[in-house]
Amino acid sequence: MTALLELEDVEARYGPVHVLHGISLAVAEGSVVTVLGPNGAGKTTTLRAVSGTVRRSGSIRFAGRSLQRVGPDGAARLGIAHVPEGRGTFSELTVSENLRLGAYTRRGSIQPELERVFSYFPFLSERRRQQAGTLSGGEQQMLALARAFVLRPRLLLLDEPSLGLAPVLVAELFRIVRELNEKEGLTVLVVEQNAHLALQAADAGYVLEAGRVVLSGSSAELRADDSIRRSYLGY
């Protein structure tokens, strides 16, 4: 099992505020890995460190290559699709324009990717010309996932996909993420509040607290851990 993404001792700060105090984690190619933890633990910042949207130090290696000097647009060019908090949907543009933007760094026709995406998200095909801002929250989250997928990324970074969605939709969303992983071999690093669902969908997980990794292991191990059960799963 080779690691597609490897973070070693990564630190990050917003101005004077130190958010990450030396995070180390690895994401194996073809796996789904989740990052859990309370608010303010640095989960979102970990994803931002990978995509280069925050200043960071330490070593970040993607497919054997250092991301130290790579910014967000460079990360996208290397095949890292980051669906940020709040989804990053261009609400003023149409669904079809949002999807074309997802494939912005690709050359040539994206028709095969579009058809693939429409097979996973049939409703998007009917709404190609609709303004993305008029979609419901759940539909926008699906669109964000679809937009990330047309890039044909090697690594998908998902930030709190369940935020503000009905439980039924969250389950549907994780089912699709799992399907993309199994059928398309997509590697996923997902930050999530809903630990129960995240651990069901993921192969492995890391628990952050105050900018440090306090616990890690396979999903089964984490589910069996007493402290996790009490703090995040609630039984």
Binding site: D73, A81, H82, R100, S136
Partner: protein, 336 residues
């Protein structure tokens, strides 16, 4: 999906609300168009003023569109947009002095304007862009003064004459004399605006530019080089400004370092009237200001040419007081 149906209804409602807001605007515009049409049919003088107003208005609209492009990308008004247009018109003058024909000089000037706009964004705006809006505004005001100084230094303050190819002949349409010049100006502006619109609407670069202007952070995440897009945006704005400058010159019959200053004021008024964020609004606003000003100057000579600029300011103030979003502007509504 369970919520698909209810969200579709909500979407329709939202559109309905939007329609109710813009319906009034379309009615007003339709009314104005009917008024102009009836006026043109009843009086040849009125028709003449209207056509000249449309030609001048398309010049204002073109410069207003340049302001809107920059505003959408950086949320800053480029106070130097008019002076930049003046500078490029002097460049066209110089190229023609060196023996180039009008249209060759025209094309070369647009290319130079693009390069100049891009260069200015990279060298002067980019370094202060992330500091504050005020910093960028001050840089554009400084640019205004700088360009003014450079033009005076190179070409002097005296009047120059640009040999425009439009001549002084007129078409005769049902007793109304329509100068060739007016038709050419409207045509050139329309073609340039359509080309820029097509670029934004149908090309990948255009899509990237729109994304970069709407949500820079999200655009970077999908791989758009946001900084390059902003520079290209400044380049395109300078091209539209250059078209405005070259097309404004025939109405002034001469070129002087201050010749774009009143036009910048009309373009401000046009852009605000159109809603500042709306390219179509800038164009419609420009035409409205052009026609209104020409009719007032034509029929109320007491107000005459001297009070045109204050009138434009009055329009600006009125729009900001009564309908700050302008004709086509939208208040920002975002679903979270």
């Amino acid at each position: 999906m369970a919520s698909a149906e209810s969200s579709a209804i909500a979407g329709l409602r939202r559109r309905g609300a939007l329609d109710a807001g813009t319906a009034t605007v379309w009615l007003v515009l339709l009314g104005a168009a009917i008024f102009l049409l009836i006026g043109c049919l009843r009086s040849t003088a009125f028709a003449g003023y209207t056509i000249q107003g449309l030609a001048l208005g398309s010049v204002y609209g073109s410069l207003a569109l340049a302001l809107v492009l920059v505003y959408r990308a950086t949320h800053v008004i480029n106070f130097a947009q008019g002076e930049l247009a003046m500078l490029t018109t002097y460049i066209a003058y110089q190229l023609m002095q060196w023996g180039l024909s009008y249209w060759v000089a025209f094309a070369a000037t647009l290319a130079i304007a693009f390069a100049l706009g891009t260069l200015l964004q990279v060298t002067l705006i980019r370094p202060v862009q992330h500091r504050s809006v005020i910093a960028v505004v001050i840089v554009t005001v400084g640019l205004f003064i700088l360009i003014d100084g450079i033009v005076n230094w190179i070409w002097g303050a005296d009047f120059k004459v640009l040999q425009s190819p439009f001549g002084f002949a007129s078409f005769d349409v049902g007793g109304v004399a329509i100068p060739h010049k007016d038709v050419w100006v409207i045509g050139v502006v329309l073609v340039s605006v359509l080309l820029v619109w097509g670029l934004f609407r149908f090309t990948k670069v255009g899509l990237g530019m729109r994304a970069a202007a709407l949500r820079p952070a999200a655009a970077a995440l999908v791989g758009v080089r946001v900084d390059s897009m902003l520079a290209i945006g400044w380049g395109l704005a300078a091209v539209l400004g250059a078209v405005a400058g070259l097309m404004a010159e025939p109405f002034q019959f001469s070129l002087s370092p201050t010749f774009m200053q009143p036009i910048l004021v009309y373009a401000f008024a046009a852009a605000v009237l159109g809603g500042l964020e709306s390219p179509a609004g800038a164009l419609v606003g420009g035409l409205a200001i052009g026609v209104t000003l020409t009719l007032i100057v034509g029929y109320v000579p007491q107000i005459g040419a001297e009070l045109q600029t204050p009138f434009a300011f009055a329009v600006l103030l009125l729009v900001l007081l009564v309908k700050p979003t302008g004709l086509f502007g939208r208040r920002e509504v975002r679903r979270v």
